[in-house]
């Protein structure tokens, strides 16, 4: 059974609901970048929106935009990945608990603060009674959601799935994480990320929705060939898993035009990718995306998104190459892209995309 990424839509640091990042990426200039909000009126009425937090509004807008682009009115399944769910409402509720001495707590913030609010709000809006699930596995939430959709589509249990990755970065949460060296607080130019020196990266809120389908439609982004999740692999296990994925899809490393990695500028995070590059991907051009979309629990989804858009367009823009010398040598139209992400060198994911 073939599975296709039919369409995708995002709200992030980059121009929302747009692929403008391919030509004119917004270059971050601080460690905390606010996402650019689209006009929500075409997606959500003011009466509906009044109870929704920012993240739910973003999730609804990207979901509805993706479904429209993919020509699907009702997906068979809605599967979301979110590391922390609706943090904005969680903060509101917890602040009210403190301010009001655990009394007179606002019901709306409580209801909206749960992780599965996102998937359920999408289902309510679509009146979708199909499979509805939320994965909350920190940095591999999206990968788990994608794996679930991939398995169900492969087994023929569903024909379409709306898969999302949604996380927001609030100023308070950003400050908390800064105390754990999550961010390069002195960040002012991309060179600091490429060097990969010291702890920390730049933050990014993420709302990304993609429509998967077992039927190829016109304008599909690419085929989702394989998804593999591995736990605490060493370099040998990673090599073995990559080879297994390639082998069962009748490919070899020579066929891979580029590998998308979650390089972020954090030395601990990037060391894992540098080791992979050194031992496995010496001859495969390396692409990165966190310099454009930032780091967050859902950011791995942008690796898949970036790879998928490049395959549909048939071109990899220069600014996606981690090593400038590889950009200069790369001339061909990409046909096979491997996406490799890891979270704290514990959960690794390998995702194979083909044209």
């Amino acid at each position: 059974m073939s599975i296709y990424i039919q369409s995708a839509s995002h709200i992030s640091i980059q121009k929302p609901l747009s692929e403008a990042w391919m030509e004119l990426p917004i270059v971050p200039d601080s460690a905390f970048m606010k996402s650019e909000e689209p006009d929500y009126k075409p997606f959500i009425s003011p009466m509906e929106a009044r109870r929704m937090g920012t993240l739910v509004k973003r999730a609804l807008a990207t979901s509805l935009d993706t479904l429209r682009k993919g020509g699907c009115e009702m997906p068979d399944a809605i599967i979301s990945g979110t590391g922390l769910g609706c943090v904005e409402h969680t903060e509101k509720f917890l602040n009210a608990v403190i301010d009001n001495d655990e009394e007179c707590l606002p019901p709306t913030s409580f209801m909206q603060s749960t992780h599965n609010t996102i998937s359920s709000q999408i289902a309510l809006r679509l009146k979708c009674h199909g499979y509805n699930s939320t994965y909350s596995h920190r940095g591999t939430s999206f990968d788990s959601a994608l794996f679930d959709a991939f398995m169900q589509l492969s087994l023929g249990k569903i024909g379409t799935a709306l898969v999302g990755a949604h996380d927001e970065m609030t100023p308070d949460y950003f400050l908390m994480l800064s105390k754990l060296d999550y961010w390069k607080m002195d960040f002012c130019h991309l060179g600091q990320l490429r060097k990969g020196e010291g702890r920390g990266s730049i933050s990014g809120s993420c709302s990304l929705s993609m429509l998967l389908s077992s039927q190829k439609q016109e304008n599909a982004l690419c085929e989702l060939k394989d998804v593999e999740l591995i736990y605490r692999p060493g370099i040998l296990q990673s090599r073995h898993a990559i080879n297994e994925v390639l082998l069962r899809n009748n490919l070899s490393l020579k066929d891979i035009d580029a590998v998308v990695m979650g390089l972020s500028g954090d030395c601990d995070n990037d060391d894992v990718y540098h080791e992979l590059k050194h031992h496995i991907f010496q001859n495969v051009p390396t692409l990165w995306y966190k310099q454009m979309f930032g780091e967050g629990f859902s950011s791995s989804s942008f690796g898949v998104y970036v790879g998928a858009v490049c395959l549909r367009v048939g071109r990899i823009p220069q600014h996606l190459f981690y090593f400038p010398e590889e950009a200069a040598m790369f001339q061909k139209e990409p046909r096979n892209i491997l996406v490799y992400n890891h979270f704290q060198d514990r959960d690794h994911s390998i995702i194979l995309l083909t044209k």
Binding site: P46, M47, A49, R50, R51, N100, E103, C104, L105, P106, P107, T108, M111
Partner: protein
């Protein structure tokens, strides 16, 4: 009473996040639920919390709500008669 009605309208707009609405847009005699503002059961919970937090009124009987939340004016009259702060 008129001052309390104005204050209550502002609080309702804030707590129910009625974006784009001003106190002048709310008819104090119009029904809050169904017609009029078209509020729902979750809004009713928010209004109960509002009454307790801002005016010290604890509603003991859920059925009372039907009468109290008929309109902003009825709500203000109830608050005026029962407020403890």
């Amino acid at each position: 009473m008129e001052q309390l009605i104005e204050e209550l309208k502002k609080e309702i707009i804030e707590v129910l996040n009625l974006e784009g609405m001003t106190p002048a847009d709310i008819d104090e005699n119009a029904p809050l639920f169904g017609e009029g503002l078209g509020l729902d059961s979750i809004d009713a919970l928010e209004l109960i919390v509002l009454m307790e937090k801002n005016y010290g009124i604890k509603l003991q009987n859920a059925n009372e709500g039907k009468e109290i939340f008929k309109s902003v004016r009825v709500m203000a009259e109830y608050i005026n008669a029962h407020r403890t702060k």
